[in-house]
Symmetry: C2
Subunit: 204 residues, 2 copies
Amino acid sequence: MAKSPNTTRIQQRNRATILEAALDVFSQNGFRGSTVDQIAKAAGLSKPNLLYYYPTKDAIFKAVMSDLLDTWLDPLRAMDHDGEPLVEIQAYVARKLEMSRDFPRESRLFANEIVQGAPRLLETLSTELKELVDEKTVVIERWMDEGKLNRIHSRHLLFSIWALTQHYADFDIQVRTLMGDEDPFDAAPAFLETLYERLLTPLN
Amino acid sequence: MAKSPNTTRIQQRNRATILEAALDVFSQNGFRGSTVDQIAKAAGLSKPNLLYYYPTKDAIFKAVMSDLLDTWLDPLRAMDHDGEPLVEIQAYVARKLEMSRDFPRESRLFANEIVQGAPRLLETLSTELKELVDEKTVVIERWMDEGKLNRIHSRHLLFSIWALTQHYADFDIQVRTLMGDEDPFDAAPAFLETLYERLLTPLN
DNA sequence: CAGTTATTTGACCAAGTGGTCAAACTGACG
DNA sequence: CGTCAGTTTGACCACTTGGTCAAATAACTG
């Protein structure tokens, strides 16, 4: 081993615990609504100990966010330019819906941040996300040019996918309140598949 | 005039100013993220003066919320059981979209609250809203039985309308960041009309 | 084992927070 | 003008919050 391995075993474990706890707390209360004490308690650490690993509340938040962002954009990145258009989009919708089911905290944290004007996220939105979206809308419009998809507004199409899939995570409490026993994620996949098949199939 | 008009002119003016300021502040920062001082400053009043009209931060919030709720449910209430199904639903979508454009703060306040688990709103959701939704889904399903609408999951249909329309208010900053100069509300009405026409038109 | 570094903590602080209160001010009305 | 309910405020308080620090403890290294 070299002189000083700048991350030890304990550090790795604690950092992971902290990020997990912070995701929990932040996604439930937003940034301002969360306290360092809450996160410390959720992580099973004392407050000074937590601040030994991340020096400020802001640093914790940034760490959670950057951890999250890549995962979040993956489904869109995975849309294959050379695939069958309808299949690719349906697969994207399905993946996004699965993420809402399996990672609702991440979705809510995102939503929380954007609803409040994305003060800590605007930079990323206007560079990384914009670039990705610009790239993918070009592809989608090519598909429409080739007559493989019904011609609609490509950006609004993406917005609709985000809105419809993330709604099940972000508004979970409302959705479940109104659906009673029935699990929203039972019928949602079929519903969205029907919706996008009808929306995107060319009439010719 | 009677002995004591229990609301004076000054009271009416100040209460209105406060609710307006509170809506602004709450919708931007959520409940926990907002401070009484912020609201007081936004309303142009001293903090004790503000607390003279609403005794606690919680009371201000509740007042804003109950003011908001009726307005918020109106579009759905207005859906006419005896109208032409497709027309009624399209009109509902259009009204909801207009509300997102004209009252984005209200939409965001709502979103903020629900994303965080609706601690101050669950009661209303599970009674007033549930009742209204139950009533309207019955109507929608009757329309489907009559062959006037494509048969789909009626609750998910409502969720989709909320998700798609409110997205433009709640995620405004993201939508605008990605659309550049173009006003999202230019193309959104046509986009949603196409979407719901295709989704809801019976096949045969 | 001793020495060194990494980790953990109790005690503390300054700023911000929701809320109180007595005193001052305002305005309508006889 | 006097008066009295209605309105406004500066000063204040208890509590929470993000963050610091010196000292204690645990872990690793030779």
